[in-house]
């Protein structure tokens, strides 16, 4: 089974995010980038599939700060090859990025593949989700919010489980090749000891590929950015129990919880 995993670096929200003076973007002074969480789950699912059925896991990631660390960690976990797409600007829209990914898949010789796995979402998705757009472009089968992928080697059938509200799950049969948006892997992403990552850094390498910007795919323009208020300390509601209860009801209603 040949699997490509798309990985993406996103701002690390453990660090306090600051808005840049232009009011439209993040201040990068203290900004750190971290592997998007559900992409990490996609990687884990791919590794589990490889363990069960053999094959190769290749990683493809737009270049970004700290992406090398993430790629080496993934290689240390058992991925076979890592390629990064050089020269992508964070402000490019998702569709432009998807167009570049499609090109990179062939320039980096990653096709044919049976599966492309990526996270069902990223915390900086603004104008589209990668998995469905990619599937659409490649004309591959697709499902997102997936939390289990099973391949039956004897029948060649792939089944995919998707979680629906209330703990209900739906099981689909899907034809390969397919693009899957992984919500969570069957097991939490594995731990890779630092010694192994360091060994990978010494002995393995990351390939790089460049692809031209896809024309005619404008990104959404952000007018402004702001941090929601009330971070750091709760907004205190005061008054007699009945009054407080009333105010709380308003809060709940405003959040669509009533």
């Amino acid at each position: 089974m040949k699997i490509v995993v798309l990985l993406k670096m996103v701002p690390d929200v453990v660090e306090e995010l600051e808005i840049a003076p232009d009011g439209k973007s993040l201040d990068t002074t203290y900004l750190r980038m971290i592997l998007n969480d559900s992409d990490n789950h996609a990687l884990e699912e791919a590794l589990l599939l490889k363990e069960r059925h053999g094959g190769k896991v290749c990683l493809l990631a737009p270049d970004a700060p700290e992406v090398d660390d993430a790629l080496f960690a993934a290689l240390a976990k058992g991925a076979d090859r890592a390629v990064k797409i050089a020269g992508i600007d964070a402000a490019e829209g998702t569709r432009a990025v998807v167009a570049r990914i499609v090109q990179a898949l062939s320039t980096a010789d990653l096709l044919p593949a049976d599966l492309i796995l990526t996270g069902a979402q990223a915390i900086d998705d603004l104008d589209g989700l990668v998995a469905p757009l990619l599937a659409q472009t490649l004309r591959w089968s697709h499902l997102s919010v997936v939390n289990q992928v099973r391949f039956d080697a004897s029948t060649g059938v792939t089944t995919v489980t998707k979680e629906f509200p209330g703990g209900l799950r739906a099981e689909f049969e899907i034809k390969l090749p397919a693009v899957l948006g992984i919500q969570s892997a069957e097991k939490p992403p594995r731990y890779v000891p630092v010694a192994k990552v360091r060994a990978a850094m010494k002995s393995l390498q990351i390939d790089s590929t460049t692809v031209p910007i896809a024309a005619g795919m404008p990104a959404l323009e952000i007018q402004s950015m702001a941090k929601p208020s009330a971070a750091g300390h709760a907004e205190m509601l005061e008054g007699l129990p009945e009054a407080v209860a009333g105010k709380l009801c308003d809060v709940l209603a405003a959040h669509g919880l009533l």
Partner: protein, 331 residues
């Protein structure tokens, strides 16, 4: 004259999900704002039962076809895109539920039009649609505008109160049965019911967490009533579980479950790091504690300094009376 506002309904096994009503409520406001109509797009097979609560919309476009019976995203998206291509809506609102997750992107991709993810607010400003979206796990709010018609908007859950989008009558219904069904290589095989046993608190959308401030086991009843009116469950800090007042499966924190409900009410919980670790990702955190210095107030969004035996019953009562005023038989 601008086109209509569409809401794509989120259906799961023939039942409308709450997010649909939330989207309808927002769509209604937008339609008023623009002076156009709100239409709900209902895709499925044998859909009669669900029409009766969509009266807030001006019309329902009921697209029925055997191929639409199962939630296969690419099939649904293609139908929506085709319809939009002929009917020219101004905006298509898609609630971002797990059932409809891929829809917005797919429709926008097929039509080559803009898509805005995770919207919390939509309005008309200077002839353009302005959307508020949340980024970076809610740490930042961004405002984007789009002039393109149609534009597609994914809505986060809780954009409006469900009751505002809920009616006890059906609107005018247009049935569409001639649809262009795209062949697919994705087939629903079966549904897997959640396993029996105690509830899985990590899957609950509303949790009332109780700590040692609850004082006695009998007082748990008070928090249970609150959880019931909110349609959620109760859980606890470790001391409460240690006492045997709640089973281990209800423990939140480092030694228990990590939960991310939409609402977490921390009642009589001091906010020790081991507990906070398990619940800090919750959408809305409300803390009730008699100690104004309790660290839980540093993670909560709203705080109340009071005895929980005073506040919890009052809150339960207030919620009950509101829902009595609101929708009567919303089930």
């Amino acid at each position: 004259m601008s086109g209509n506002i569409w809401v794509v309904a989120a259906l799961c096994r023939g039942r409308l999900l709450d997010a649909t009503y939330e989207a309808v409520a927002l769509g209604r406001e937008l339609a008023e704002n623009l002076g156009t109509k709100l239409e709900v797009l209902l895709l499925g097979h044998e859909l009669k039962d669900v029409l009766g609560t969509l009266g807030i919309a001006d019309a329902v476009l009921c697209v029925e076809h055997a191929a639409l019976a199962d939630p296969v995203p690419e099939v649904h998206a293609h139908v929506v895109a085709r319809l939009a291509g002929t009917r020219h809506p101004q905006a298509i609102l898609v609630p971002q539920t797990n059932v409809t997750w891929e829809l917005g992107s797919l429709v926008a991709g097929e039509l080559g039009v803009p898509y805005v993810n995770s919207c919390t607010e939509l309005r008309m400003v200077e002839q353009t649609l302005e959307a508020h979206t949340v980024l970076y796990g809610g740490k930042v709010e961004a405002i984007v505008r789009t002039k393109h018609a149609p534009s597609i908007f994914g809505l986060v859950s809780g954009v409006r109160a469900v009751e505002k989008g809920y009616a006890d009558h059906a609107p005018a219904t247009e049935r569409i049965t001639e649809v262009d069904v795209q062949p697919t290589s994705v087939q629903l095989r079966r549904y897997l019911e959640p396993e029996a046993g105690d509830i899985d608190i990590s899957k609950e959308e509303v949790l009332v967490g109780v700590g040692r401030g609850i004082e006695t086991r009998d007082n748990l009843e008070v928090s249970k009533e609150l959880a019931d009116v909110l349609g959620g469950a109760i859980c606890g800090s470790r001391p409460v579980i240690d006492q045997g007042w709640l089973p281990l499966s209800r423990q939140v924190g480092k030694s228990g479950a990590t939960v991310k409900p939409k609402l977490y009410i921390a009642a009589g919980i001091s906010g020790a790091p081991e507990h906070v670790e398990g619940m800090k990702g919750s959408g809305l955190i409300i803390a009730i504690n008699s100690d104004p210095q309790a660290p839980i107030f540093q993670v909560a969004h709203y705080g109340i300094v009071a005895k929980l035996l005073d506040v919890l019953p009052a809150l339960t009562e207030a919620i009950r009376s509101r829902s009595r005023r609101g929708m009567k038989q919303y089930a």
